[in-house]
């Protein structure tokens, strides 16, 4: 823990993502205050294509909506979907990785082939087709679908750790003491690789948000969930590029990039601490 404080990468990432989360959490209050109770997605609330002003710091879009309000709202949805899908994916990954690492043999081989397949095969078209043909998608369904395609990444982070932890003596000790497999897994193994789960989680969050944005930008998925991808899609289809309204596209892109970069910085920082080179430094 002390080492984490000394990692500028980890700290930078943590600060950025915390700021974004706080911003997303405060969105209802900010927008309520600024829009006087109207929904950020309400069409025709203001005049269209207003220039940035004190009242509308980023102007309004082709439907007369306040761009800043849309962005904060989109950030909230993107983060929510990302964390829900990422969380689900991590749970799947931990479960399958534990199963594989602990049981070994054919089960492990099967799970390895499965997760490698998901990693190797381009999943976006499959995702797009599913989202296209499923009749009604709500926030949760979307997260589940995304989770289904993003567990392979965290699984790759977690599985080798489980396999190595399994070999450690305290697990044998627990086995000698007649703990059940489940007890061993949850009481002895899990706490020891929490940091790896965290790394896997942020990989999954990144993957889910990336996939969700990629779907929404092209106009797939539920139009009533105005995530950042949807905001970009609106901007593209209302011709924001052609009329030079670059900010409407650039700012949601910046938000998304900030999410990805900060989560990655957290991962890199953790990685550097989890694989300390100190052994190399003092060991002769």
């Amino acid at each position: 823990m002390k080492a984490l404080k000394n990692s500028p990468k980890f700290l930078t990432g943590l600060i950025i993502i915390t700021c974004l989360i706080v911003l997303a959490l405060m969105e209802p209050y900010i927008n309520d205050y600024r829009l006087k109770g109207h929904s950020p997605t309400e069409i025709g609330l203001y005049d269209i294509f207003l220039e940035p002003s004190w009242e509308h710091p980023l102007g309004t879009d082709s439907y007369g909506r306040d761009v800043l309000a849309l962005l904060l709202n989109g950030l909230k949805y993107s983060l929510f979907i990302g964390f829900t899908a990422g969380g689900l994916a991590t749970i799947i990954a931990v479960f399958l990785a534990s199963l594989a690492g602990y049981k070994g043999g054919k089960i492990e081989a099967f799970i390895t082939v499965l997760s490698n397949s998901i990693l190797i095969i381009p999943s976006w078209p499959i995702l797009a087709i599913i989202v296209l043909f499923v009749k009604k998608i709500d926030l949760f369904t979307l997260s589940v679908i995304l989770a289904f395609f993003s567990w392979a990444g965290p699984s790759r982070q977690i599985k080798p750790q489980i396999s190595s932890l399994k070999a450690r003596p305290y697990v044998d000790l627990a086995r000698v003491n007649n703990f059940s497999d489940l007890e061993i897994m949850f009481k002895e193994i899990l706490p020891n690789f929490l940091p790896y789960i965290l790394v896997g989680f942020s990989v999954a969050v990144t993957g889910s948000i990336m996939a969700e944005t990629a779907l929404r930008i092209v106009g797939l998925g539920p139009g009533d969930i105005p995530s950042l991808g949807q905001v970009i899609n609106w901007a593209i289809y209302s011709g924001a590029m052609a009329i030079g309204q670059y900010l409407v596209i650039l700012i949601p892109i910046t938000f998304l990039i900030l999410i990805f970069v900060s989560l990655n910085l957290i991962n890199v920082g953790m990685d550097e601490i989890l694989n300390p080179k100190l052994k190399q430094i003092t060991g002769m």
């Binding site: 080492a3 000394n6 080179k277 100190l278 430094i281 003092t282 060991g283 002769m284």
Partner: protein, 322 residues
């Protein structure tokens, strides 16, 4: 006074860590004379491998050479440019790495790894270089077809012999061996040590051998240095050190070697200190059974005791050690 072939002066090799500098090798001075076998002993972590890597300028960040000089043929090796030093490397100063799995590049054939050094330093053709490599392999008792093999096809002992053969290809003046036989089984250790000594006689080498096992020093070395916590605590001829160890640490090391007379080897109490935070005063004092008050505060200097013996210990301040 004899001129040393190579002289190390106050060498300090440090490692940058987030907790500050790890002072692995912390002010070592040694003189090594032509044609001798010089041993460096000490527990793991005492900085003996770092010392060799420092002398050969093999340090990689975060490791760096803090200060010191290595004088060879009147030149300070640390003042040479990389290109100038590369010309001396292998041709005059060779190196045998730790006998580990990874001492040879796994993706290149033995032949390529042996001749690339020859080609870099001499104007021989590929065929001539291969001939030299074959002769070298023969001199360490390896069959010819080894040259067409990949490292993973060789046993640990064979790989180590390839390294030994490689190091003698260009008939260098001096070879630094860093635990050259450590990872091998006992028979192989003995065999490989004999090979090194045989080559030493044959081409007139000077050998510096780092090893934690005192038995090898007794077997092959002329003189030796004992290192503790990054510093040399005692140097002298091997026989004298074995028969009459001066520093309490040397005594401890020798007691730790099992022998027939003494069925149970005694280990030194306490644990080796960390290079991040060496103890003040004499670095050995927390583990020393003859600790005095002065040891806690004042660091003893390496002093000449007898014609060829140096020791860094407050016990021998008065010169009345006998």
């Amino acid at each position: 006074m004899k001129e040393p072939l190579i002289e190390i002066r106050d060498l300090r090799v440090y490692f940058r860590t987030i907790y500050g500098d790890a002072r692995s090798t912390d002010g070592v001075s040694l003189k090594i004379f032509e044609n001798e076998v010089f041993g460096i002993a000490g527990e793991s972590g005492c900085g003996k491998s770092t010392l060799v890597e420092g002398v050969l300028r093999l340090m990689k960040p975060p490791g760096y050479i803090k200060s010191g000089e290595v004088i060879y043929k009147g030149k300070n090796l640390f003042e040479l440019t990389e290109e100038e030093f590369n010309k001396i490397r292998w041709k005059e100063i060779a190196y045998i790495p730790q006998g580990s799995m990874n001492s040879l590049n796994p993706v290149l054939k033995v032949e390529e790894q042996m001749i690339d050094a020859i080609l870099s330093h001499t104007d021989t053709s590929k065929e001539e270089a291969k001939q030299i490599a074959l002769e070298a392999l023969d001199s360490v008792g390896l069959p010819e077809d080894v040259i067409n093999m990949y490292p993973h096809e060789l046993s640990g002992g064979m790989r180590q012999r390839v390294c030994i053969a490689m190091s003698t290809c260009l008939k260098p003046k001096i070879i630094f061996g860093d635990e050259p036989v450590t990872a091998l089984d006992v028979v192989m250790q003995k065999l490989n040590l004999q090979t090194i000594m045989h080559l030493k006689e044959k081409i007139g080498l000077t050998v510096v051998m780092v090893a934690h096992d005192m038995a090898w020093h007794a077997e092959v070395c002329d003189r030796m240095a004992i290192m503790y916590a990054g510093k040399v605590v005692e140097t002298g001829p091997v026989e004298e050190i074995f028969l009459n160890p001066l520093h309490p640490y040397t005594e401890g090391l020798l007691n730790a070697v099992p022998s027939l007379k003494r069925k149970f080897a005694k280990s030194i109490p306490g644990i080796a200190p960390s290079p991040l935070n060496w103890p003040p005063g004499c670095r050995f004092h927390p583990r020393c059974y003859r600790k005095m008050n002065i040891c806690e505060n004042e660091e003893p200097e390496l002093k000449l005791i007898d014609s060829e013996r140096y020791v860094a210990c407050h016990l021998y301040n008065g010169g009345n050690w006998k």
